[in-house]
Symmetry: D4
């Protein structure tokens, strides 16, 4: 029940236009969706600066295009992740103003200016070139959510000196997203080198006993370095979103 | 190589007491542990305000007591996690000034004042009473690391109204640690109700197809609510530590 | 042995046309399939009001069409589930009077009127739009089996207020089928809000550590809310069938 | 907020003792736990006839005794499941009027008369003698929840004639709980013989590739007989509870 | 219904003492357990020469002793497998005439002479000394079931010449039981050397990635040599029993 | 070393044409492949009456055709299993006299008369129509190996009376192959009804938690009925081969 | 920092052109990537004689061709593994001088002479013809890395005499790579016959419970023969590389 | 057949004391165990310098003591691994001259001098203090097998600078054994820093999603650094043995 309606009800009680019993009955039926926090939900994305998000995985081009177009009509920025290459053209045709972020496998409608609402920089670190699509999904998400984003690529643990040479970048970040497949060791090494929170993203890169990313996932969950938290396999969006929340200024 | 030694070497080059070639050879052998960042390591805990930490799991009372005592001699605060009840007395006897945090299954030496270094409050939410030891381990870790800590207990998803009644507490936190076993659904619900980062801790509470916490772990990794990151099963320490990093003020 | 034959045999014994020893021998060979309950089997579907069912998964269009046509010739209603889009046209061509239920991925032959044989309403609750095909399979099954069916869609746990706003619908149902993928938390929340039996259906919706629905399945099996029972991943038919049995009036 | 308090508030608005704005503010803070359905929760068990339940697994005798005693003070019936033999004496000593149900591994406080609130009979079918503790937990739960309970024991599929000889009992039930370990095939056979809903409980009975009940669980989830739903391994309580909900008379 | 009762019923029909309709009704209720094959069940063990068998695993000494004593009272031979060392004395005390087969972890009551009912010899081959208990359980089972039994021990694949030196024994057997843990490779090699049926028993011997016998089980299921069939991990009894059935003379 | 060569060597020693030391050296190098049992290998298939076998899975049509043609040139019967429909034409074109066994997914070259070398009948029992390809592969293998083969189809455990009506067929067999997917319960029921050895074949029929046949495999390994042995998922050939070995007359 | 730059800095200190404090500051910033060992990295492949390697799996023909061409421009030998047949032509067109190694599924640019840098021979042993692609990948890798390579094919454990006949070849090798799928038993048998190090490669050859090579992997990890080490499933390159390192002459 | 017996037989042929046919018959029966390589087996350990090895895991103190004493009587060095602390005293009492290697959990009888038979040094690298028992088992094995052994302890990847400071030690080794639990990332980093073969040993150190060492095992199998081979979880002996074979001088 929105404040206006509630105020009107109370005023009718005040003026005697409504009996207390009637008002009681009306309040008892008060559906949850009408409470204040539900309204927040409908406007959450615009208010918080986060884009509206559509997971393209397992949806047809038509479905993605339809949903994105509908969300875009509200004026919000929209991010569609995991849009298959074969679906992109159809989606772009259905959504005026949409653009394709090829490496991130995403379609974006950017119609609101993106303010910098972060405390510092979100650094996206990735181990190998095959991890780049997931890393870029994280970077794109973080940027659309109002963060300055930096990248550090191709710093796998088998060539540890490349990572060591970038220690300044690690320390300069406010939060670090680390993307790695295979044995998933990179977050442990990064977390050992810095005191920033590390969000680890296992990727499905590998074969055989990598089991579609399970090896990397387990490696990250068992990290010997404290400060590492983990998201689902290939979940670049989730990592970018969590990093954005972590980087948010808290108004208190 | 510490700055003093390095300066001395350079001064000997400057005065001609050391040949350039000799200095080159000495620098070529420069072991990594002598570089600046290595020294930081040795003093990291004291400087950052984090306690020294010992994982008691799989160690004898004698081993725990020995390590804790040694660390405590440096003047640092020390946290020993997963100390079995049967080991506590022996450990306390070996470490002057140590105390037992029974619910958190920890032994603590607190000899340094704990400054409040956080941006806001770390809120520890737990689903059932059996999840309390893990929740308390997280709470204790966060407090020793310099955070204000709040708790919200017994708010499992099967009685969702209890959680809903605490929405103000959720919004008031800077970062939220959610501890749950069985199906591990609580972090999804919490993350859907708030815009704070959520660190989820699956616990091994359950039986049968809970597989020692795997069900909860998978549930959390597959959370339909963005903003959830996950640590290892029963890893209250890791969650408290990550929450502390997230809550840290970043000086930039 | 059907009653007529058995009666004839006994009458031959009575009249002396058959010796007791011969009758004994004949009865000793009495095959099980001739006992009364076997006959029930052949007519079970028509008698109980359940449709004949064909699982289309892994069958060619020709096989599905052939079986459905044969079953339909008996006059029964027929439900073919998991009919791939590519097979539908061929099946419809082979079966006169068949129709395609696109969302439920089913082909239906409805040639018998469907009586309402349930005690109350079967409510189908689903978490996300991707769960709809499984939910519709459950709804279609329940309706063909003679139940009033209601639906509650898109009430995932990450937006808990939408579910809370529908509590009246939950209480109004006789039995509730809850369909959810990813972390599979919805049945726990539903079961905590109502005192109706909940049949949970995990779906294969998700990626990475959802492992094709295992995460949701485990979540549901470990539900912290009593009253939840579970069927196989994506088994909308099984859930609709079980809900129908639960909703049946028992004549005693 | 309970009706009395709400009425008082409205009356103060009516009389002018409270301004509309103040009332608005007070209502905006209205915590969920004060809504009507929350109060229901506190009295749910007594009202519905279900006992209060404590899961003894992983709790000390002291903890179990303490919780049971506290719940019993409300006058409710109480059921503590999975109480280890070694804990029973201590629990009984702490809870006046409690009794031990040895086979079901439970402690019961029965201080309210148990009305028969079911539509028919709950039949508990078990495969082997080792499955009896789980079967009895289900039976005890169903009886305490107000159901007539029948049992059919030792009817494993390797001696199928014993089950076939009891077909009348199967048909006479309103709902059937089937408890089995090893390959977990019994629910399929039972569901094929009857048209009643079957709640299947896999047990951890077995060794080697039974993997603590996983083989039985998978067997039941993949049942080729429709109408079977499944609960967690060894979850006799859950099955008895679900069977009770299914057997409930629905007042509509 | 036993033949005598059935004959009596038919005679009453014959003499007119029973009406055809009454006889029909009585036959309609004919419970399955009264059919001929059920009676066979009760006497199956004695008739076939197989011993009565009790699985001791997970039973108390009292339970084992009670069941064995009861079975022994029928005059049958009885085999109790997996009797823990700690239970043996109590069992022996409860069962007159019982003896302990220590290596096979079994208790035996042998009160019937054991005829040789096999076509040839059952050969038990085992890989390592740790596999001996399982091998001996198989050997004991086969012998009590009326087979000549030979043994070939300590012929693991890492020392293949020992097995090769025993090829005559392999060819001389009628059926071969192969018991092996770790990688479980022995059945493949044995089946490649002979044309006899091979029953493979994986054992739980090993550690780490042997996963309690899963590695051996998978190895045996994936044998590159045709003719290998597999039983459950550590199931020496099952292998001995299957080998006995295979070695049986078939009277046709 | 074949006998002729060995004899020649010994004769040269006898005549003094070879020194003892030279003969010793030659014998020391005696390669294993020249020992008698190796030669047996090359002729094993023809001698034993088993066909030569090619596993088509994962091979191209060209590879299959090439190998089958080569084996057929020796005059032996040849069985190629798992030949994909798309490969059949190409294979048939390459191998004169080959025929396609469509249901069994096999290509056969039958150029030797097949003698009946079995003790009795091999009975192939299958649960559902989807299990037929695996069942037919087993039947074809057994027939080509010289066995009389009977079939019992569509006797799944959900309609147990169909199986019970065929008990005579079960008892008439010498060895029974049972093919079933989903929960894999059929072998337990069959083994409980008969005293013949049962070779169980899990199939990959099912979906969701059937995990490609794992559920059926585990069900069979954990069979509560003794006498069941198991082969790999979908391994109809292996079951038919093992059944053939079991049915072989042993000449002793 | 390369030696030249470091020497220049020290000389400036020596001559007074640089103050000690300035030099200290410059050294403190010394990035890791400038240390000597980093430079070594860039030239490692040419210096060590190992080829540059590109994993083709999951890359498009264009990506593979681009990377190979770029690496080849440095003059190095290049090995691209796991190049799908469909990609080969495109890759060859993009890289002058490249050739296709069909059986090994690789593309090779061989523009440097390959010196023999090994202590002895690398022997590649494979179990079945389906294992050949992985075996050839290992052989090709070892040869390009400067080793003499021998092969022993089709020596599966089901026909053990073929392996035994090749014992001389086993002993003649310096290191042995054993490639096998299905039960993966071959490395155990090989390691039992020789005293050379054995690098085992499980392949994904098999079906059903082979689980894409897991059965073979577990078999090899649990080898009862000491001296066996294991690489990832199908990782022929890794085995050939490790064997090359083992076979390297160590200059000390 | 040993050379002496064979020579005698040939001499009898030469002198005419044995007919060629008789000699042929005797040779045809030549059992494999009598061939030369079998005798080698019996003396392999002494000849190669490797100790005799007993795996203590799962054996009683009496069994271990008995086997060790028997092996020691041959004069060989003996190594018993995984001897539980509780068994040590009993074992030492049964074996004169035996000593306890406490950290390595081993009992050793060292009665032969240990020659240095290696090409270079075996370096044992371990990540954490909890990994030390496994590391020491590897070190002890390597030393008893005739290698110079060096150790590098406590160089986990979370504190990467400690490892980097020891690069000289890595390059100085001939073969490196890397022991690590948790995420098992250390072998990747080590293999990236050196060109020596790396034998990786996952340990069962960890909890929760480490699954008793599976996480570390998978991490090592998926190493992004070439040159890493892996042994079973906690298999320090196997790693030390394989490293010894790798370090052996090959006489060719």
């Amino acid at each position: 029940m929105d404040p206006q309606k509630l105020r009107a009800l109370l005023e009718r009680v005040q003026t005697g236009d409504a009996a207390v019993d009637d008002a009681l009955r009306e309040l008892a039926d008060l559906p949850f969706k009408d409470l204040g926090f539900a309204r927040v939900d409908h406007h959450r994305h615009l208010r918080t600066g986060f884009p509206e998000v559509v997971l393209g995985l397992g949806k047809t081009a038509e479905q993605i295009g339809h949903i994105v177009a509908e969300l875009a009509r509200t004026g919000a920025n929209v991010l569609a992740t995991r849009v298959a290459d074969a679906s992109v053209d159809a989606v772009l045709k259905m959504v005026p103003g949409a653009r394709h972020e090829k490496l991130a496998r995403a379609v974006v409608v950017e119609q609101q200016p993106i303010a910098d609402v972060g405390r510092g920089t979100v650094l996206i670190v990735s181990a190998g070139t095959s991890d780049l699509p997931v890393a870029e999904e994280a970077a794109l998400t973080a940027r659309l959510a109002g963060n300055r984003v930096e990248r550090l690529v191709d710093v796998g643990v088998a060539g540890i000196h490349r990572l060591l040479g970038s220690r300044a970048a690690l320390e300069a970040a406010s939060v670090i997203v680390v993307v790695a497949g295979m044995e998933g060791a990179l977050p442990s090494v990064v977390a050992g080198l810095t005191s920033r929170p590390v969000v680890a993203v296992p990727t499905s890169i590998g074969y055989g006993a990598s089991f579609g990313g399970i090896a990397a996932l387990l490696g990250m969950l068992n990290s010997c370095a404290a400060g590492v938290t983990v998201v689902n396999i290939d979940n670049g969006f989730g990592a970018g979103y969590a990093a954005s929340l972590i980087n948010r200024k808290v108004d208190k």
